[in-house]
């Protein structure tokens, strides 16, 4: 979002239009509902927990792998070809900001029509949805990693004749590792959030069989089995924590080698927090030795020559295929637009009149959650800025809080709050808050830690009080982090709305008027295609435009005004 890009202005608009048109082509809630009626549901019990955890983990892993492959391809293309970058970067940006959960019914429908109504199509739909929550920032990470390779390092590899496979292994892949890993942790947390959401959605009014922790959780609560729900939640948190300790943390330590420079302070902090690596290095060592042995046996130069020839052939073939491919794409677009128009043309249901009000109410709900989140996070970070120990503890809390998917708490919160404290309105705001606060806390803490110590000491030496230092230095210095955190938090919360405005609990539906509720009703209750399509369009357009008109500008302004150092 920072750098200047000379991208065509119309591109994001076309992308959004295409996405909506494709959804319109595919949206057929009636058929998805009909399919669901034929499914025999199995009621989960404690015995099913390990299997459910296994399924959830499998889904996550599959979509993560697909995301990494996609991210590599897109990031590499954007980093090496300026023309590709001009198209790809805005598309990735849009992908990042569109509330993908709204497209879930459409995704289910597409996979059911293409593959028939089996378990496989549901699995693929959910994997696809998780993918859409993971891929974008990974692609940006690859792009960033590749385009920040120092000029001379690149030239050095070239001057040594390092090409093709060898170049990929010794230069390009290592250069991406730190950014890719950092973003993998974010993506993985994001993925949990969406995985649980998918599994909960499919156990909404229209029920499918998608065994997993999320579906176990929500189904257990729907029939009031609190013990099973607590068990599922415990298993989920255990998995998240174990993965953090056994996989991500060792990887993070290992990835430090792939950076061009190491900040001394950061190193010290990480060692202070270090928990013994859980077995992973020992597990990986034989694998690595095997890999090394294989690599040594590959005749790199010969393969490279072959690959170069293949690339040339592919490029030539592409030149021939470019026009037919473009034509097919254009035809697809026209078809999409036509079906979009058809979906919109039908007689609009009476509820459509409520859409603007629903959108406004949803917006107000997010704003309320945002204010509530800031109300505790800003004082907390200011306090942390004076107490380094406290800051470390708080960032641990934020890390754990952010990595446990807030969606898992939705059913629990509902169970606790329903029929109490002002009912559904409060619940939906509370749900929005659970998803929102960690992003803000995480980013603000990062901002506080970047305030240079000598700057703070110079103000103290001038005799400024603690409050004055907060006002004059810490808060302004945190502005860029605040905006970054806000963008992510708002983006996540638009998604969360789809779950939080319409909740099924103990066979009863609790709902408040909002855009998320409209989407849900259209999908699972009335099956009204025009309404579904209208609310989806409205939601997507609002979010994308809000990002463009508010956050992007704010981000730029804040970065000019409040940047520390050069």
């Amino acid at each position: 979002m920072t750098e200047e890009r000379s991208s065509p202005r119309w591109l994001p608009i076309v992308a959004v239009g295409a996405a909506i048109a494709l959804a319109a082509m595919a949206l057929g809630p009636g058929r998805a509902l009909n399919f669901a009626r034929g499914v025999v549901l199995s009621e989960p019990s404690f015995r099913d927990l390990p299997a459910a955890a296994g399924w959830s983990l499998l889904r996550m892993t599959a979509s993560y792998l697909v995301s990494v492959v996609f991210a590599w391809a897109a990031g590499y293309a954007a980093a090496t070809r300026p023309r590709a970058a001009r198209v790809l970067l805005p598309l990735l940006d849009v992908g990042q900001s569109v509330p993908v959960l709204g497209f879930f019914p459409a995704a289910i429908y597409v996979f059911i029509t293409v593959l028939g109504g089996g378990r496989l199509s549901l699995e693929l739909a959910s994997i696809f949805l998780i993918f859409t929550s993971q891929a974008w920032n990974l692609a940006f990470a690859v792009y960033e990693g590749l385009s920040t390779i120092p000029h001379e390092t690149r030239a050095a590899a070239d001057s040594l004749g390092v090409r093709g496979l060898l170049r990929l292994r010794t230069l390009l892949l290592p250069a991406c590792i730190p950014a890719l890993l950092y973003n993998s942790i974010l993506s993985w947390a994001n993925g949990w959030y969406f995985l649980i959401a998918c599994e909960i959605i499919v156990t909404g009014k229209a029920e499918y069989n998608l065994p997993g922790l999320g579906s176990t959780l929500s189904r257990a609560l729907a029939r009031g089995d609190l013990r099973l729900a607590a068990g599922a939640l415990a298993v989920l948190i255990a998995i998240v924590v174990v993965l953090e300790l056994a996989v991500w943390r060792p990887l993070r330590v290992w990835s430090r080698r792939f950076r061009y420079d190491t900040q001394v302070g950061e190193e010290a902090e990480e060692t202070a927090l270090r928990i013994p690596d859980l077995g992973l290095p020992t597990l990986l060592r034989p694998l690595r030795r095997l890999g090394r042995g294989l690599w040594a046996r590959i005749p790199v130069a010969r393969i490279n020559r072959g690959a170069a020839a293949a690339a040339r052939a592919a490029l030539a073939a592409w030149r021939w295929l470019r026009w037919p491919a473009g034509l097919a794409l254009a035809a697809g677009l026209v078809l999409g637009v036509v079906s979009g128009a058809r979906a919109l043309a039908g007689p609009w249901p009476r509820e459509a009149g409520q859409l603007p009000l629903a959108l406004l109410l949803s917006f107000l709900r997010i704003a309320a959650a945002y204010v509530l989140a800031l109300a505790w996070i800003v004082p907390a970070t200011l306090w942390a800025s004076d107490h380094p120990r406290g800051a470390r503890a708080l960032s641990m809390v934020a890390q754990v809080g952010a990595s446990v998917p807030a969606t898992a708490f939705f059913p629990v919160l509902v169970a606790l709050l329903v029929n109490r404290f002002g009912g559904m309105e409060i619940i939906s705001i509370a749900l929005a808050l659970t998803g929102m606060q960690w992003y803000l806390l995480f980013n603000l803490l990062g901002g506080v830690q970047r305030v240079p110590r000598d700057l703070r000491e110079s103000l103290r030496a001038l005799g400024l009080s603690r409050g004055a230092i907060h006002r004059q230095l810490v808060l302004p210095a945190c502005m860029p982090s605040l905006v970054t955190g806000s963008v992510v938090a708002w983006g996540g919360t638009w998604n969360a709305l789809i779950l939080s405005e319409y909740v099924v609990y103990r066979g009863r539906t609790y709902e408040v008027l909002g855009i998320g509720q409209m989407l849900n009703r259209a999908t699972f209750q009335t099956g009204n295609r025009a309404l579904l399509f209208l609310s989806l369009t409205l939601l997507v357009v609002t979010v994308v435009e809000f990002n463009r008109l508010v956050w992007d500008r704010l981000y730029q302004a804040v970065n000019v005004r409040y940047r520390l150092g050069a």
């Binding site: 001379e152 390092t153 030239a155 050095a156 001057s159 040594l160 004749g161 060898l166 130069a301």
Partner: protein, 249 residues
């Protein structure tokens, strides 16, 4: 014998639709066994010229001949040393030096032996398993030098190789580069070095190419006839430095 010839080489970059000339019509020859320095003010395109000679970037017009044949892409008979050392931080010193050998499909034990030989030559034996971040600037540049020498190039390019080092280290390394260059047992005997310090050029080179800027043109092509080993207090040293300085201004 001429190793490298530049014929009417020009280079311009496009920036926001405007073409900015960097090098303008440069014709020169690099004969075998010569130590050539390119000097000029910053921004005169001397590094760009070196990259064109190496084949890292093509000239906008004109041509580069290596052994009387036009250069097409990176010259694998040449090697380059960089100001920022440009070592890969995730590879050990040994692996960094072996990188160019891997690219040439050398057998693993051969490349290990050769890397060890050149690491010894530059005085880095014992540091094979170290990572670049653990080395001082001078040692990093030694590793960079070993990496370039290990591919046994006929031509060695150096882009301000001593600019990132402190005065004492760079003086030492300068001496060692001259020793390596005059070592008949090593294959490399033709060197082209870019520097912005005129004294350094006069101290090291057989010949100095002087560029001036906006756009970079060849202002002078001087032989340095002072006897080796040279010293800054040698007779005629200051006079030569002054005359080159005048040509740049």
């Amino acid at each position: 014998m001429r190793v490298l010839q530049l014929r009417h080489v020009s280079k311009s970059f496009v920036d926001r639709g405007r073409s900015i000339p960097v090098l303008d019509d440069i014709t020169a020859q690099i004969p075998e066994r010569q130590f050539v320095c390119i000097v000029g003010p910053s921004g005169c395109g001397k590094s760009t010229l070196l990259r064109i000679m190496m084949g890292l970037t093509p000239p906008t017009s004109g041509e580069v001949l290596y052994q009387d044949r036009p250069l097409d892409g990176v010259n694998l008979k040449a090697a380059m040393v960089f100001q920022s050392f440009a070592l890969l931080p995730w590879l050990t010193v040994q692996a960094n030096v072996e990188l160019g050998l891997k690219a040439r499909d050398l057998r693993e034990e051969d490349s290990r032996k050769r890397a060890a030989f050149y690491l010894d030559k530059v005085g880095l034996d014992g540091y094979e398993e170290a990572y670049p971040t653990e080395l001082s600037g001078g040692m990093k540049q030694r590793a960079g030098l070993a990496r370039a020498l290990a591919v046994e190039p006929e031509l060695l390019f150096m882009d301000e190789p001593f600019a990132g080092l402190d005065a004492l280290t760079s003086a030492n390394l300068r001496e060692e580069v001259l020793t390596l260059w005059s070592d008949q047992a090593l294959p490399v005997n033709t060197v082209v070095m870019v520097t912005h310090i005129i004294e350094e050029a006069v101290l090291m080179a057989d010949r100095v190419l002087v560029l001036n800027s906006h756009p970079g043109r060849l202002a002078a092509d001087l032989e340095v006839q002072l006897p080796r080993p040279r010293n800054k207090r040698d007779e005629g040293f200051d006079a030569l430095v002054d005359s080159i300085f005048e040509k740049i201004v």
